[in-house]
Subunit: 336 residues, 2 copies
DNA sequence: TGGTTTCTTGTAACCGGTTACAAGACGGCT
DNA sequence: AGCCGTCTTGTAACCGGTTACAAGAAACCA
């Protein structure tokens, strides 16, 4: 009762209590084989008595390994990121790793600070920053920290990348809409400066031109609101349209809501398509035709690569994943 | 070129390079005022030259503070948790704290390990475990680690709690359905052993009995699939029903999907209601009537309380938040 | 019996920061 | 000049673990 009630027991306290050396306590807790059973028992009793829990921070420092992975995201809004995070978390748990979240909050200065703060906190980084030029970011960072890039602009100094083939995906979607008999296909773009958005727009333009159709692009922002605004504008400007291909699902959903409010039927009057296949896409009605990315799996793969990289294994430099067309009722009534 | 290329520069390397003591380097990096400008400049130059980034782990150890908050969740599935996480992340960033994720994966043994692993890694814990008896959990943990409980079973050894008044919310929902003229109101329950689910069921039963109606409860699991199964069962057993109150929104959405597939109109034939007001609830059609919890705000409040607790401030022991009724078209056509 | 091998255990240095304390430098005052 | 207070800087201990190394004990063998 006279001991220090405040503060946790340390390994030295346990050693004293069990009348052994700290090395032995360490050995017991790390399950090293060369410990006499009697001594092991004594240590365990002492640890129980003192309610000892090893201090992970100290352990990390001396082993130069934290067991944590830093995840740098631009935002946590919407299902896209939560799906990705879910995939990452599952894979990380398999490898006995934790996830340390760090939101980039769209501000690059803040992002740099956030990244630097990660040194000594994590063993590696997953960076998802479609909107930011990574050279500025990584220039501030020691080049030796392992990192895997998800859907980033193509720089990042030769680090392994995972990417969705947005150009091909957008092209496939345009062709699908054409197959459905649509000709006046309008694209609602993603935010400016976002590589994924730019690639999808590029894929759209190419496919339209290849089919001899005139591309029409409206601005957007990857959110529901911007889909609604796009529809307003279509109506205000009396633009001829029989299909709207939005840069992502949330925008497409905004489009559908606005059309519904306006009394325009989907898909008979206007077909709607999105991109990402967020869980929600299946649940709205009509179901949303979209390009499936398997977001969670992509997150999991990213973690997997990163863990390999941390463990010093060879890792493919770049993987381009092909999204798959998911046809639902928003583009074609026979579906589902 | 002959130096060690491998490994980061440490504070001692910088000190040597700038020909000052480690204490001075530390002072410069921590912006302490008592440093001569000339020396400060020298240190900064040396740091730049060596591309020095302070090692957060070492700093944490010597300061006994990590700047990280551990978040223990049962699962990451669905919008409920992602919304909560989003709220937490925002608030944490305001306080310059990171979030360390730890999934409980429904297994209590795993959960205990996960919690113990947190010592020395985080300054405090947010625990959300509606399905687990916390006494077993916290018994394994040094009592001195700060923690805030979110919607947990009422134990946790006197730690601050935040909770939704699920009983009252369920009651209000039942009364709303009755006001809409419904009498045969069936409840689809949440998973067994989950306090929130149990409270909602209790609120439902009480309100039904108070109105002189007979409660009918079907099993469920908080997911879409269980909502579908519940509808199948209602049909198979020919149960009389004019309203279905599901224990949460995902279940309610499953119910709506199944009803739609079956050709039953919502709300004219059967009204549907959920609980939580996940973002999705607004987007399905018809819009889902539900109890709004403001999940993100709840997460933010939890972080806020925890930070105060870590900083040694007084924190209210318990807060019971009242959810608000959100009426949409799934219960009442005039709405929206 | 003594020598060699193997197994167990302890001592102390180390991981990379922070910080209490002491000492030196400098300026102002009598 | 001598004394004192203030400001800057360095030395070394410390945070709580891990682990290289050495030493002692035990087992085995000739």
């Amino acid at each position: 009762m006279t001991g220090k009630e405040i503060g946790q027991a340390t390994i030295r306290d346990v050693a004293r209590e069990a009348d052994v050396s700290v090395a032995s306590v360490s050995r017991v807790f790390n399950r090293l084989p060369n410990v006499r059973p009697e001594l092991k028992e004594r240590v365990e009793q002492a640890a129980r008595k003192l309610n000892y829990v090893p201090h992970a921070g100290a352990r990390n420092l001396s082993m130069a390994r934290t067991g944590a992975i830093g995840v740098v995201l631009p935002d946590l809004h919407g299902e896209y990121f939560s799906e990705m995070l879910r995939g990452m978390e599952r894979e990380a748990a398999l490898h006995h790793r934790h996830l340390l979240l760090s939101n980039m909050h769209l501000d690059i200065g803040y992002g740099i600070d956030a990244l630097r703060n990660m040194r000594g906190r994590v063993d590696g980084l997953i960076v998802m920053a479609p909107h930011i030029n990574l050279d500025a970011l990584f220039a501030q960072l020691p080049p030796s920290i392992p990192a895997v890039l998800l859907n980033c602009q193509d720089n990042g100094q030769g680090r392994p990348e995972l990417r969705v083939d947005n150009v091909a995906g957008a092209g496939a979607m345009v062709r699908h809409l054409i197959d459905c008999g649509r000709r006046a296909i309008v694209h609602v773009e993603g935010p400016a400066g976002n590589v994924e958005a730019a690639d999808r727009a590029r894929g759209y333009v190419r496919a339209m031109e290849a089919a001899g159709l005139k591309p029409v692009i409206l601005p957007g922002n990857f959110d529901e609101e911007s889909g609604r605004r796009a529809v307003d504008r279509l109506q205000a400007e009396q633009i001829d349209v029989d299909a709207i291909f939005a840069a992502n699902d949330m925008t497409a959903i905004g489009v559908m809501v606005a059309l519904r409010d306006m009394g325009v039927d989907v898909p008979t009057q206007v077909a709607v398509a999105g991109f990402d296949n967020i869980p929600l896409a299946r649940l709205v009605s009509p179901g949303l035709t979209t390009m499936a990315v398997d977001i969670a799996d992509m997150g999991a793969r990213g973690i997997n690569r990163l863990v390999a990289l941390i463990d010093g294994e060879a890792v493919p430099q770049m993987e381009l994943r092909q999204p798959g067309l998911i046809i639902r009722n928003s583009s074609q009534l026979s579906a589902a």
